[in-house]
Protein backbone atom coordinates (compact mmCIF):
# COMPACT_ATOMS: atom_id res chain seq x y z
CA UNK A 1 0.00 0.00 0.00
CA UNK A 2 2.68 2.45 1.10
CA UNK A 3 4.76 1.36 -1.83
CA UNK A 4 1.98 2.06 -4.30
CA UNK A 5 1.39 5.50 -2.82
CA UNK A 6 5.08 6.25 -3.24
CA UNK A 7 4.77 5.03 -6.82
CA UNK A 8 1.90 7.41 -7.46
CA UNK A 9 3.82 10.34 -6.04
CA UNK A 10 6.82 9.46 -8.20
CA UNK A 11 4.60 9.16 -11.25
CA UNK A 12 3.04 12.55 -10.55
CA UNK A 13 6.45 14.08 -10.00
CA UNK A 14 7.66 12.54 -13.23
CA UNK A 15 4.69 13.89 -15.18
CA UNK A 16 5.22 17.30 -13.65
CA UNK A 17 8.85 17.20 -14.74
CA UNK A 18 7.98 16.14 -18.27
CA UNK A 19 5.11 18.62 -18.65
CA UNK A 20 7.09 21.34 -16.90
CA UNK A 21 9.94 20.91 -19.36
CA UNK A 22 7.63 20.85 -22.35
CA UNK A 23 5.95 24.01 -21.13
CA UNK A 24 9.14 25.89 -20.34
CA UNK A 25 11.18 24.82 -23.37
CA UNK A 26 13.04 27.96 -24.33
CA UNK A 27 12.45 29.39 -27.78
CA UNK A 28 15.42 31.72 -27.66
CA UNK A 29 17.40 34.27 -25.71
CA UNK A 30 17.82 38.05 -25.45
CA UNK A 31 21.25 39.04 -26.75
CA UNK A 32 21.28 42.82 -26.93
CA UNK A 33 19.06 45.21 -25.02
CA UNK A 34 19.14 48.99 -25.27
CA UNK A 35 16.77 51.20 -23.27
CA UNK A 36 13.36 50.05 -22.10
CA UNK A 37 12.47 46.58 -23.37
CA UNK A 38 9.82 44.46 -21.69
CA UNK A 39 8.51 40.94 -22.08
CA UNK A 40 4.85 40.14 -21.46
CA UNK A 41 4.43 36.49 -20.43
CA UNK A 42 1.13 35.05 -19.19
CA UNK A 43 -0.20 38.55 -18.63
CA UNK A 44 2.76 39.77 -16.59
CA UNK A 45 5.17 42.39 -17.91
CA UNK A 46 8.80 42.36 -16.75
CA UNK A 47 11.96 44.08 -18.01
CA UNK A 48 13.89 41.94 -20.52
CA UNK A 49 17.62 41.65 -19.83
CA UNK A 50 20.55 40.24 -21.80
CA UNK A 51 20.68 36.47 -21.31
CA UNK A 52 16.99 36.14 -20.41
CA UNK A 53 15.27 33.16 -22.06
CA UNK A 54 12.37 33.70 -24.49
CA UNK A 55 9.37 31.43 -24.75
CA UNK A 56 6.58 30.69 -27.17
CA UNK A 57 3.78 33.30 -26.87
CA UNK A 58 6.12 35.91 -25.37
CA UNK A 59 5.33 39.45 -26.42
CA UNK A 60 8.34 41.78 -26.57
CA UNK A 61 7.67 45.50 -26.27
CA UNK A 62 10.39 48.00 -27.15
CA UNK A 63 9.93 51.59 -25.97
CA UNK A 64 10.56 54.72 -28.04
CA UNK A 65 14.23 54.92 -27.06
CA UNK A 66 15.02 51.19 -27.07
CA UNK A 67 16.11 48.36 -29.34
CA UNK A 68 16.53 44.63 -28.89
CA UNK A 69 18.54 41.79 -30.43
CA UNK A 70 17.17 38.27 -30.02
CA UNK A 71 18.16 34.81 -31.21
CA UNK A 72 15.88 31.81 -31.55
CA UNK A 73 17.16 28.29 -30.82
CA UNK A 74 17.53 27.46 -34.51
CA UNK A 75 19.91 30.44 -34.97
CA UNK A 76 17.26 32.78 -36.32
CA UNK A 77 18.49 36.33 -35.68
CA UNK A 78 16.05 39.13 -34.92
CA UNK A 79 16.46 42.80 -34.14
CA UNK A 80 13.68 45.14 -33.11
CA UNK A 81 13.73 48.91 -33.47
CA UNK A 82 12.20 51.60 -31.24
CA UNK A 83 8.41 51.51 -30.67
CA UNK A 84 8.14 47.85 -31.65
CA UNK A 85 5.88 45.05 -30.54
CA UNK A 86 6.90 41.51 -31.46
CA UNK A 87 5.31 38.13 -30.68
CA UNK A 88 6.66 34.56 -30.86
CA UNK A 89 3.44 32.92 -32.08
CA UNK A 90 4.83 29.41 -32.19
CA UNK A 91 8.24 27.84 -31.90
CA UNK A 92 9.56 24.29 -31.81
CA UNK A 93 12.99 23.02 -32.79
CA UNK A 94 14.61 19.58 -32.71
CA UNK A 95 18.38 20.07 -32.85
CA UNK A 96 18.89 16.44 -33.87
CA UNK A 97 16.78 16.61 -37.05
CA UNK A 98 16.73 20.41 -37.51
CA UNK A 99 12.96 20.10 -37.97
CA UNK A 100 10.58 22.48 -36.31
CA UNK A 101 8.33 25.47 -36.70
CA UNK A 102 8.88 29.19 -36.26
CA UNK A 103 6.05 31.71 -36.60
CA UNK A 104 6.56 35.26 -35.41
CA UNK A 105 4.65 38.54 -35.73
CA UNK A 106 5.74 42.12 -35.78
CA UNK A 107 2.64 44.01 -34.70
CA UNK A 108 4.21 47.45 -34.66
CA UNK A 109 7.58 49.01 -35.43
CA UNK A 110 10.48 47.56 -37.39
CA UNK A 111 12.22 44.20 -37.35
CA UNK A 112 15.23 42.76 -39.13
CA UNK A 113 15.05 38.99 -39.52
CA UNK A 114 17.67 36.45 -40.56
CA UNK A 115 16.30 32.94 -41.02
CA UNK A 116 17.86 30.03 -39.15
CA UNK A 117 18.25 26.27 -39.44
CA UNK A 118 14.52 25.42 -39.62
CA UNK A 119 14.10 27.51 -42.77
CA UNK A 120 17.20 25.99 -44.33
CA UNK A 121 15.63 22.54 -44.24
CA UNK A 122 11.97 23.46 -44.63
CA UNK A 123 11.15 27.07 -45.59
CA UNK A 124 7.41 26.32 -45.34
CA UNK A 125 7.81 25.86 -41.56
CA UNK A 126 8.71 29.51 -41.07
CA UNK A 127 6.48 32.58 -41.30
CA UNK A 128 6.59 36.24 -40.38
CA UNK A 129 3.33 38.17 -40.05
CA UNK A 130 2.09 41.71 -39.60
CA UNK A 131 -1.55 42.66 -39.28
CA UNK A 132 -1.73 43.03 -43.10
CA UNK A 133 0.67 40.43 -44.53
CA UNK A 134 2.04 36.95 -43.99
CA UNK A 135 5.53 36.33 -45.35
CA UNK A 136 7.22 33.13 -46.35
CA UNK A 137 10.97 32.86 -46.66
CA UNK A 138 13.53 31.20 -48.87
CA UNK A 139 16.83 31.47 -47.03
CA UNK A 140 16.49 35.10 -46.34
CA UNK A 141 17.46 38.25 -44.57
CA UNK A 142 14.90 41.03 -44.66
CA UNK A 143 13.37 44.00 -42.85
CA UNK A 144 9.71 44.49 -42.02
CA UNK A 145 8.32 47.85 -40.96
CA UNK A 146 4.70 48.14 -39.87
CA UNK A 147 2.31 50.29 -37.89
CA UNK A 148 -0.72 49.50 -35.79
CA UNK A 149 -2.55 52.57 -37.13
CA UNK A 150 -4.58 50.68 -39.71
Amino acid sequence: MGHSKFGNVMFAAGMLLICGQAWAADAGIAKKILGDVRVVRAGTSTPLKVGDPLQELDRIIVAATGSAGLTLKDETLISLGPNSTFVIDSFAFDAKTNQGRADVSIVRGAMRYVTGLIAKLNPAAVSVSTTTVVMGVRGTEFIVETTDEK
Binding site: L77, I78, S79, K96, T131, V134, M135, T140, E141
Partner: protein, 198 residues
Protein backbone atom coordinates in the same frame (compact mmCIF):
# COMPACT_ATOMS: atom_id res chain seq x y z
CA UNK B 1 -4.57 75.23 -60.15
CA UNK B 2 -7.70 75.74 -58.15
CA UNK B 3 -9.01 72.56 -59.63
CA UNK B 4 -5.87 70.70 -58.52
CA UNK B 5 -6.15 72.10 -55.05
CA UNK B 6 -9.73 71.00 -54.66
CA UNK B 7 -8.80 67.56 -55.95
CA UNK B 8 -6.01 67.40 -53.40
CA UNK B 9 -8.39 68.47 -50.68
CA UNK B 10 -10.88 65.78 -51.60
CA UNK B 11 -8.05 63.21 -51.77
CA UNK B 12 -7.01 64.13 -48.23
CA UNK B 13 -10.64 63.82 -47.16
CA UNK B 14 -10.84 60.36 -48.71
CA UNK B 15 -7.64 59.37 -46.92
CA UNK B 16 -8.98 60.50 -43.58
CA UNK B 17 -12.15 58.51 -44.11
CA UNK B 18 -10.67 55.36 -45.60
CA UNK B 19 -8.04 52.99 -44.33
CA UNK B 20 -6.58 52.74 -47.84
CA UNK B 21 -4.13 55.55 -47.12
CA UNK B 22 -2.87 54.08 -43.86
CA UNK B 23 0.91 53.86 -43.55
CA UNK B 24 1.82 50.79 -45.58
CA UNK B 25 3.81 47.86 -44.29
CA UNK B 26 7.23 48.05 -45.87
CA UNK B 27 9.20 44.88 -46.52
CA UNK B 28 12.79 45.11 -47.76
CA UNK B 29 14.79 42.13 -48.96
CA UNK B 30 18.45 42.32 -47.96
CA UNK B 31 21.36 40.55 -49.62
CA UNK B 32 22.46 37.27 -48.03
CA UNK B 33 25.66 37.48 -46.00
CA UNK B 34 27.22 34.82 -48.27
CA UNK B 35 25.89 36.37 -51.48
CA UNK B 36 23.63 33.43 -52.31
CA UNK B 37 20.22 34.13 -53.88
CA UNK B 38 17.20 34.44 -51.61
CA UNK B 39 13.60 35.54 -51.69
CA UNK B 40 10.70 36.52 -49.52
CA UNK B 41 7.15 35.78 -50.55
CA UNK B 42 4.67 38.37 -49.34
CA UNK B 43 1.03 37.35 -49.00
CA UNK B 44 -1.22 40.35 -48.29
CA UNK B 45 -4.12 39.18 -46.14
CA UNK B 46 -6.39 40.94 -48.66
CA UNK B 47 -5.20 38.39 -51.26
CA UNK B 48 -2.54 38.04 -53.95
CA UNK B 49 1.19 37.46 -53.73
CA UNK B 50 4.35 39.51 -54.21
CA UNK B 51 7.77 37.90 -54.55
CA UNK B 52 10.88 39.87 -53.65
CA UNK B 53 13.87 38.10 -55.15
CA UNK B 54 16.54 40.76 -55.68
CA UNK B 55 18.38 42.54 -52.85
CA UNK B 56 16.82 45.90 -51.91
CA UNK B 57 13.51 45.15 -53.60
CA UNK B 58 10.67 46.38 -51.43
CA UNK B 59 6.98 45.64 -51.00
CA UNK B 60 4.55 48.29 -49.78
CA UNK B 61 1.32 46.79 -48.51
CA UNK B 62 -1.84 48.29 -47.02
CA UNK B 63 -5.11 46.52 -46.37
CA UNK B 64 -6.22 47.40 -49.90
CA UNK B 65 -3.05 47.84 -51.99
CA UNK B 66 0.22 46.00 -52.56
CA UNK B 67 3.09 47.10 -54.80
CA UNK B 68 6.76 46.39 -55.25
CA UNK B 69 9.51 48.96 -55.45
CA UNK B 70 13.17 49.25 -54.66
CA UNK B 71 15.56 50.95 -52.31
CA UNK B 72 19.35 51.16 -51.92
CA UNK B 73 21.95 49.92 -49.46
CA UNK B 74 22.60 53.52 -48.37
CA UNK B 75 18.93 54.21 -47.72
CA UNK B 76 18.57 51.00 -45.68
CA UNK B 77 21.64 51.96 -43.69
CA UNK B 78 20.19 55.30 -42.61
CA UNK B 79 16.54 54.26 -42.25
CA UNK B 80 17.28 51.10 -40.26
CA UNK B 81 20.57 51.84 -38.51
CA UNK B 82 19.22 50.78 -35.10
CA UNK B 83 18.17 47.41 -36.51
CA UNK B 84 21.67 46.80 -37.88
CA UNK B 85 23.23 47.75 -34.55
CA UNK B 86 20.88 45.55 -32.51
CA UNK B 87 21.18 42.44 -34.69
CA UNK B 88 22.94 39.62 -32.81
CA UNK B 89 26.13 38.25 -34.38
CA UNK B 90 25.84 35.18 -36.57
CA UNK B 91 26.85 31.83 -35.10
CA UNK B 92 30.54 30.95 -35.47
CA UNK B 93 31.33 27.38 -36.40
CA UNK B 94 34.31 25.29 -35.30
CA UNK B 95 35.12 21.71 -36.31
CA UNK B 96 37.14 19.28 -34.26
CA UNK B 97 38.32 15.81 -35.28
CA UNK B 98 39.44 12.76 -33.38
CA UNK B 99 42.60 10.74 -33.96
CA UNK B 100 41.57 7.60 -35.81
CA UNK B 101 39.77 5.13 -33.57
CA UNK B 102 40.35 7.08 -30.36
CA UNK B 103 38.86 9.66 -28.05
CA UNK B 104 41.98 11.80 -28.53
CA UNK B 105 41.57 15.04 -30.45
CA UNK B 106 43.98 15.86 -33.25
CA UNK B 107 46.56 18.55 -32.45
CA UNK B 108 44.81 21.07 -34.73
CA UNK B 109 41.57 20.41 -32.91
CA UNK B 110 43.13 21.20 -29.52
CA UNK B 111 44.07 24.60 -31.00
CA UNK B 112 40.47 25.06 -32.12
CA UNK B 113 39.31 24.70 -28.52
CA UNK B 114 41.38 27.76 -27.59
CA UNK B 115 39.77 29.73 -30.43
CA UNK B 116 36.35 28.67 -29.19
CA UNK B 117 37.16 30.13 -25.77
CA UNK B 118 38.03 33.45 -27.42
CA UNK B 119 34.79 33.39 -29.43
CA UNK B 120 32.73 32.65 -26.32
CA UNK B 121 34.22 35.67 -24.55
CA UNK B 122 33.35 37.93 -27.49
CA UNK B 123 29.54 37.44 -27.51
CA UNK B 124 26.94 38.53 -24.97
CA UNK B 125 25.08 35.69 -23.21
CA UNK B 126 27.05 33.06 -25.19
CA UNK B 127 25.41 29.77 -26.12
CA UNK B 128 27.25 26.74 -27.43
CA UNK B 129 25.73 23.97 -29.47
CA UNK B 130 27.99 20.92 -29.56
CA UNK B 131 26.93 18.72 -32.47
CA UNK B 132 28.35 15.25 -33.01
CA UNK B 133 28.47 13.71 -36.51
CA UNK B 134 29.47 10.28 -37.80
CA UNK B 135 30.41 8.80 -41.15
CA UNK B 136 27.63 7.10 -43.10
CA UNK B 137 28.49 3.51 -42.22
CA UNK B 138 25.85 1.76 -40.08
CA UNK B 139 22.34 2.45 -38.87
CA UNK B 140 20.84 5.69 -37.51
CA UNK B 141 20.47 4.15 -34.05
CA UNK B 142 24.17 3.26 -33.80
CA UNK B 143 25.36 6.52 -35.36
CA UNK B 144 23.08 8.67 -33.20
CA UNK B 145 24.64 7.04 -30.16
CA UNK B 146 28.25 7.41 -31.38
CA UNK B 147 27.75 11.04 -32.39
CA UNK B 148 26.17 11.92 -29.05
CA UNK B 149 29.08 10.28 -27.19
CA UNK B 150 31.60 12.29 -29.24
CA UNK B 151 29.70 15.51 -28.59
CA UNK B 152 29.48 14.78 -24.86
CA UNK B 153 33.24 14.25 -24.76
CA UNK B 154 33.79 17.70 -26.28
CA UNK B 155 31.28 19.21 -23.90
CA UNK B 156 33.36 17.88 -21.00
CA UNK B 157 36.53 19.36 -22.47
CA UNK B 158 34.82 22.76 -22.81
CA UNK B 159 33.56 22.62 -19.22
CA UNK B 160 37.09 21.67 -18.08
CA UNK B 161 38.34 24.80 -19.82
CA UNK B 162 35.96 26.92 -17.75
CA UNK B 163 32.87 27.31 -19.94
CA UNK B 164 29.58 27.45 -18.01
CA UNK B 165 27.90 24.03 -18.44
CA UNK B 166 24.49 25.74 -18.49
CA UNK B 167 25.43 27.53 -21.72
CA UNK B 168 26.23 24.27 -23.55
CA UNK B 169 23.75 22.09 -25.40
CA UNK B 170 24.75 18.72 -26.77
CA UNK B 171 23.21 16.86 -29.69
CA UNK B 172 24.12 13.84 -31.78
CA UNK B 173 23.02 14.23 -35.39
CA UNK B 174 24.39 10.83 -36.41
CA UNK B 175 24.88 10.52 -40.16
CA UNK B 176 22.21 13.08 -41.13
CA UNK B 177 24.65 15.77 -42.21
CA UNK B 178 27.84 14.32 -43.71
CA UNK B 179 30.35 16.85 -45.07
CA UNK B 180 31.35 14.36 -47.74
CA UNK B 181 28.12 12.89 -49.10
CA UNK B 182 27.60 9.24 -50.04
CA UNK B 183 26.00 6.32 -48.25
CA UNK B 184 28.08 3.67 -46.46
CA UNK B 185 31.22 5.78 -46.72
CA UNK B 186 34.07 5.19 -44.25
CA UNK B 187 35.12 8.84 -44.32
CA UNK B 188 37.22 10.37 -41.49
CA UNK B 189 36.22 13.94 -42.44
CA UNK B 190 32.64 13.05 -41.55
CA UNK B 191 33.60 11.82 -38.07
CA UNK B 192 33.64 15.25 -36.50
CA UNK B 193 32.13 17.42 -33.81
CA UNK B 194 30.92 20.88 -34.73
CA UNK B 195 30.81 23.57 -32.06
CA UNK B 196 28.57 26.50 -32.89
CA UNK B 197 29.03 29.60 -30.74
CA UNK B 198 26.23 32.15 -30.80
Amino acid sequence: MKNNLSRLTSLVAVCVLATACATPDRITLLPQADGSPSAVVVHPKAGGELVLSAPYQTALVTSSRAETGSTTAAEVETRYKQLADALPVRAQSFLVYFESGSNQLTKESETQLTEILIAVKSVPAPELMVIGHTDTVGTDVVNDDISLKRATLIQQKLVDKGIDPKSIEVVGRGKRAPLIPGDNLDEPRNRRVEIRVK
